[in-house]
Each structure stands twice: as structure tokens, then as C-alpha cells.
């Protein structure tokens, strides 16, 4: 499968789902009659046409676009890291209010550093703690953003 064909298929599916959703939006009876449907409807149609054109572009076997290569085998490690980083980012968002800014950020940075900078335990602990403390002072103290307060933050005098 080439990049054009795969992108084309994604485009057609996306365009169809989007256009159908647009058509099912409520019809306005007064004022702006074309209302909230018309623009999305156009966008959906253009998406479908773009998708078809992309697939047609690759019909000539000599001028085909590159083959899709996600590198799942060759760069398996990269994909595992991306997967773990994605989960880490989401979990970070879920726990930051409960744990407070400093602890949550330090834990998140420690996890990310351990993934990317492997085998350097001490260095990573230093990065994690420094990042969390420095950004807390820059954003929470100097720039006065209200950051989530946990055990550590409530003990601080500012």
C-alpha cells in the first residue's frame, strides 16, 4: 500500500462520517437558513473528492508514491516508547490535581527520562526533581499561575 492510497482511504472514510454527521444536524427554520450545516457539508464533500483524487493519482504504476512504512518491526522500540509516553501523558493529566504539581511533574519527568535516557538512574532523578522545582518557581511563584497544590505545595510559605 502506498502513502497516497492509505491517505486517500482515510480521507474518504473521514469525509463520509463527517458529511453524514453534518447532514443530521438540526435544520434551521429562521434567520441564517443555511445555518450550521452548509460549511461542514462542503468540507466533507471536498474531503471525499480529495481522497478519491489521491487514490487515482497512484493508478500509474511507474509514478506511484512511496510505500507506507510505519516501521513497526524495524523501529519497534520507538513505537513502544511512543505508546508508553502517550499513556504517561494521559496519566499525568489525571493525577496532577490529586498529587499536586511538584510530585506529579517529578514522577512524570522521571518516567519520561527513564524511557528516553535509559540506564542513568541518578541523572534522571536529578532531571526530574530539578525540572519540577524550577518550573514550579518560574510559573507558580514568579509568574503567579495557580498550580495544583499537593502536600509539598501547601507546606511552602508562598
Amino acid at each position: 500500500m502506498t502513502t497516497n492510497i492509505l491517505t486517500g482511504i482515510i480521507s474518504i472514510v473521514l469525509g463520509l462520517v463527517y458529511s453524514i454527521t453534518a447532514l443530521r444536524l438540526p435544520h434551521m427554520t429562521m434567520g441564517d437558513r443555511l445555518g450550521p450545516k452548509i460549511f461542514p457539508y462542503f468540507v466533507g464533500i471536498v474531503t471525499i473528492i480529495t481522497g478519491i483524487a489521491m487514490i487515482l493519482q497512484d493508478r500509474n504504476p511507474e509514478k506511484r508514491s512511496k510505500k507506507v512504512d510505519f516501521g513497526f518491526k524495524e523501529h519497534k522500540n520507538v513505537w513502544i516508547k511512543i505508546g508508553l509516553l502517550t499513556i504517561a501523558g494521559i496519566v499525568f493529566g489525571l493525577v496532577i490535581d490529586g498529587l499536586g504539581y511538584m510530585i506529579a511533574t517529578a514522577l512524570f519527568m522521571f518516567f519520561v527520562s527513564m524511557l528516553i535516557n535509559r540506564g542513568k538512574l541518578v541523572q534522571n532523578i536529578v532531571i526530574a526533581v530539578l525540572f519540577s522545582v524550577v518550573t514550579y518557581f518560574v510559573f507558580g511563584v514568579a509568574l503567579k499561575l495557580s498550580l495544583p497544590r499537593g502536600i509539598i505545595e501547601t507546606m511552602l510559605p508562598f
Binding site: G44, I90, I116, R118, I127, L145
Partner: protein
């Protein structure tokens, strides 16, 4: 002329406060550092530094971000010269002659001329910007919804036709951006659209969240393959960071020629520093008396594109400030950050907030001078930062991106969106779908749709309105012509 000087003096009053000059210094230094690091360009720099502008007044915020932007332009070529690795795409050309100069033991000269050329290109570019901004803003003030829609349409189409790459994939990126912009409550009719029952989406997708996803986190993902690369160079062989009189004379005409070229390319949507630097290099090689020396460490080959690059970044500020249309990824990020502070760049910015609009322009003049002083005497200590390994840099970029996204609305849902955008962004990179048109369409989508619908209401549902208004018709024709031209040109290229 008189009014321009008046406005500039208002601007200088805004810019010449201790706080603003301090932020120009901080922003410029941080920008230089981020621009310097391989793989991280100015868009990433502005994206992860957005949180430092929270709580600032809009003028200071815009001044700080502009400083980060052109600081990154100054810094972009450092890695090209020292390591033969461009800091971002617009610094690729700087490798051609910059690195050979380093190999000849003239790294100091190369660093000096790149800072001087950046300064000259930036200074002259700003003078162009000063004279062009007011007329463009005044003309745009008279635009009705039909003209606005056609202008947006042209800007979006130009983004994909003027840049390199597959046009259909660019179009795909645009429609995805437009789709994302329609998610949430429709401001004109109050109808909830495309949320598929997820109530957190009712207020729409904050485009800064997507921007942080694709410009900070996706960049980290892209660099994961090369985390073990160790960058090394010999600091002792850099030599003195200065240029001789003869060398400066040799570069003067090429720099002056490349500046207007870079500026014009910057004003056009979609044509960023990459195209400006390549065109300027090609032009100088053609005009040179000794073209065979290009690529072997000739000093004009480094000076001309550097000047074009900084002039280009001044040019890109013109449509951003006067029309509210960002022409590049970085200016798109800046627009997003400004809207967060309640400032909507566009023609009314010059009429309603001359202090902000002209304050930024004036601060860029000051900033350019400050940056020259950062980049000449501090060149050697700054390039030492190139030694910081990727494995330490990447977690920090990711951390800054995520806390920045969280600070936007203090919402954990936003972090989920950042991670999804980053993943989708990475898949788009593999599919060779360009990301800047997506971001641009997402930012401009709301205005595009509203002006379209307002125009349709005015004309009672008759789409002919877009052709009856002369200015609107011109933009639509321009959009059509650029699309046809691009398709024909690419067909010819394919035939070769």
C-alpha cells in the same frame, strides 16, 4: 510618512520599558538556544514557551514571542555551521558553505557573518515591514465578510500550492484542520456539532493544544530514532568570532540582494524561510563570478541565505499583524498564543491598539540589536549547548509542552488531546502529510466559516456575492490560478 513616524514613536514608548527590554533579552536568548538545537525549530520554541507569556499584558507577550521567533532565526544556523546538522529546515542551506568553512578552521568567521547577515536582513526587513503594515491594515479595514472569506480561502490554498510537496496531501491536511475547527458549539446558531456525545468537546478544541501536540510532542517522537547521536566539535579551533573588512565587503551586495527577496517570500502565505534560503542561495550562485566555489566554504554562500531568512521572518509578521493570517507554522503558533490573551491580530489591531501593533515592531528593532550582541560575543559559550545530548533535551521539551498545555485551561482532557494530536501528527509525518496547513486551517477555520455564512446571509443565500465584490473576486481568482499553476508545475516535474 509623518503618521508612520508618529506611530513608531508610540511603539518605541511601549517597547522602551525595562520589563519589555528584559523580556526581549530573555526571549531572544531562549529562542537562540532552542533554534540552535538540532531538530527543534522556531515553531517548537514558541509552542513550549507559551506559558511564560501567561499573566503578561498583551504587548509584552507579543514582544516576548516575537523575540523568541527571531532569536530562533539567529540560532538556527549554529548547528549547521558547527556540526553540519541544521537546527531547522530553513538552516539547511547554511550547511552548504557554513560547515566547509568550519572544516577550513574558519568557524569563528562563519558564526560572525551569520549573526551579522541575520542582523542586516532583519533590520532592512523591519524597515519594509514598517512601511507596508499601515497601508495593508487600512485596506483590510474595508473588507466585508465576502472579502474576508475569499482572503482566507486564498491564504489556505496558497499554503499548499506555494510550498513543496504533494498538493492533495496538503488539501487533506487543510480539510482535517477545518473539520477540527467545527467541533463544539457553533457560535452563530448555538448548535452543538461533531462532539459525538463527548461533553468536554462542547467548547471546541483549543488549537494551542493541537499545536503543542504536533510541534512539541510529535517533534520528540520524530527524534526518538536518533537519541544516541553524540554531537562533538573542537571549541579550540573555532578561532576569533569576527569578519575582516574584505570579507564584509564581499558579502555586502549578496546580503542586500537577498533581503528584499526573503521579505517578499515571507509575506506570501506558505512560503517560509526554507524556500527563501534556497532561492537566495541559488540566486547568489548564478550571479557569482566564481560559482564553482559555492559549497566549498565561500562566505557569500552563507551570508546571503542568512539575510534572506531573517528578512523572511519580518515579512511573515506583516500578514500576521495586519490581516490576522499567519503565513508560517511559527506565526500560526504566535497567533494562537495571542488569541489566548484576548488579542485578535488583524486590521483593527492597528486602529484600536496602536501601542501593541507598533510596540512589537519597535521592539523587533531593539531586539535585533540585542541579538547581535548576544550572538557575537557569546557565540562560543552558546555553541557549547550543542553538546547537551538529545536524551536529556527531549524529556525536557516534552515536559515543557505538557505542562504548557495543562496551564491553558487546567484541564486533564486537554492532555489527552495533546497526546492524541501528537500520535496523529506522527502518523501524518509517516504518510508525508504536511502539518502546517492543518494547524493554519484549524486556526482560521472559525473565521472562515463565520465570514462565509455572514456573506451568504447578506446576499440572501446567493453565492454570487463572492464574485460580485471585486476584491473578493480577485482573491478567488488568485486561489484558482495558484492551484492550477501548482498542479501543472508538478505534472511537468513528474514528467522529467
Amino acid at each position: 510618512m509623518h503618521s508612520i513616524l508618529m506611530n513608531l514613536s508610540i511603539g518605541l514608548q511601549t517597547a522602551f520599558t525595562f520589563t519589555n527590554i528584559l523580556w526581549v533579552f530573555i526571549g531572544g536568548t531562549l529562542g537562540t538556544i532552542i533554534g540552535m538545537l538540532p531538530g527543534l525549530g522556531p515553531a517548537t520554541g514558541v509552542a513550549i514557551l507559551i506559558p511564560i507569556t501567561f499573566g503578561m499584558n498583551p504587548a509584552t507577550a507579543l514582544i516576548t514571542m516575537a523575540a523568541v521567533y527571531y532569536g530562533a532565526m539567529f540560532g538556527g544556523s549554529r548547528a549547521s555551521i558547527m556540526l553540519n546538522i541544521p537546527g531547522d529546515a530553513s538552516a539547511i542551506v547554511s550547511c552548504f558553505d557554513g560547515y566547509p568553512m568550519t572544516k577550513k578552521g574558519k568557524a569563528g568567521t562563519a558564526l560572525a557573518i551569520s549573526a551579522i547577515a541575520s542582523f542586516i536582513g532583519g533590520m532592512i526587513g523591519m524597515i519594509f515591514m514598517i512601511f507596508l503594515s499601515q497601508p495593508v491594515a487600512s485596506a483590510a479595514l474595508r473588507f466585508g465578510p465576502a472579502e474576508m472569506f475569499s482572503l482566507m480561502l486564498f491564504a489556505l490554498v496558497a499554503t499548499i500550492t506555494l510550498s513543496e510537496g504533494n498538493i492533495l496531501k496538503g488539501l487533506f491536511a487543510i480539510v482535517v484542520g477545518l473539520m477540527l475547527s467545527t467541533i463544539g458549539i457553533d457560535p452563530l446558531a448555538g448548535v452543538v456539532r461533531f462532539t459525538y456525545g463527548i461533553s468536554s468537546l462542547n467548547e471546541g478544541i483549543d488549537f494551542l493544544v493541537v499545536i503543542i501536540g504536533v510541534y512539541a510532542v510529535t517533534e520528540v517522537y520524530k527524534n526518538l530514532k536518533s537519541i544516541d547521536t553524540v554531537y562533538n566539535f573542537d571549541s579550540k579551533s573555532i578561532g576569533k568570532v569576527r569578519v575582516s573588512k574584505e570579507e564584509f565587503k564581499q558579502c555586502l551586495v549578496p546580503m542586500l540582494r537577498s533581503t528584499p527577496l526573503g521579505f517578499v517570500i515571507g509575506v506570501l502565505p506558505g512560503m517560509g524561510g526554507t524556500i527563501a534560503t534556497f532561492m537566495s542561495y541559488a540566486m547568489e550562485k548564478n550571479l557569482s563570478k566564481h560559482p564553482e566555489e559555492f559549497g566549498k566554504g565561500t562566505i557569500e554562500g552563507l551570508a546571503a541565505p542568512e539575510a534572506a531568512n531573517n528578512a523572511c521572518s519580518c515579512g511573515a509578521m506583516v500578514p500576521l499583524l495586519t490581516l490576522g493570517i499567519p503565513g508560517s507554522a511559527t506565526t500560526a503558533v504566535m497567533l494562537g498564543a495571542l488569541m489566548l490573551l484576548g488579542v485578535r491580530p488583524g486590521p483593527t489591531l492597528f486602529a484600536d491598539h496602536p501601542d501593541i501593533a507598533w510596540g512589537v515592531i519597535a521592539s523587533m528593532l531593539i531586539g535585533n540589536i540585542i541579538l547581535l550582541f548576544i550572538n557575537l560575543p557569546l557565540a562560543i559559550p552558546l555553541v557549547q549547548l550543542l553538546r547537551v545530548p538529545q536524551r536529556i533535551m527531549l524529556p525536557i521539551v516534552m515536559g515543557l509542552g505538557l505542562i504548557g498545555a495543562y496551564f491553558l485551561n487546567y484541564s486533564s482532557f486537554d492532555l489527552i488531546l495533546v497526546m492524541i494530536s501528537a500520535l496523529v501528527g506522527y502518523i501524518f509525518v509517516i504518510l508525508e502529510v504536511p502539518l502546517p496547513p492543518l494547524v493554519l486551517a484549524l486556526i482560521l477555520g472559525g473565521t472562515t466559516e463565520q465570514s462565509f455564512r455572514n456573506a451568504m446571509v447578506l446576499s440572501d443565500g446567493n453565492p454570487a456575492i463572492f464574485f460580485q465584490k471585486p476584491i473578493s473576486a480577485v482573491f478567488i481568482v488568485l486561489a484558482g490560478v495558484s492551484l492550477v499553476y501548482a498542479l501543472v508545475r508538478r505534472r511537468k516535474q513528474a514528467a522529467k
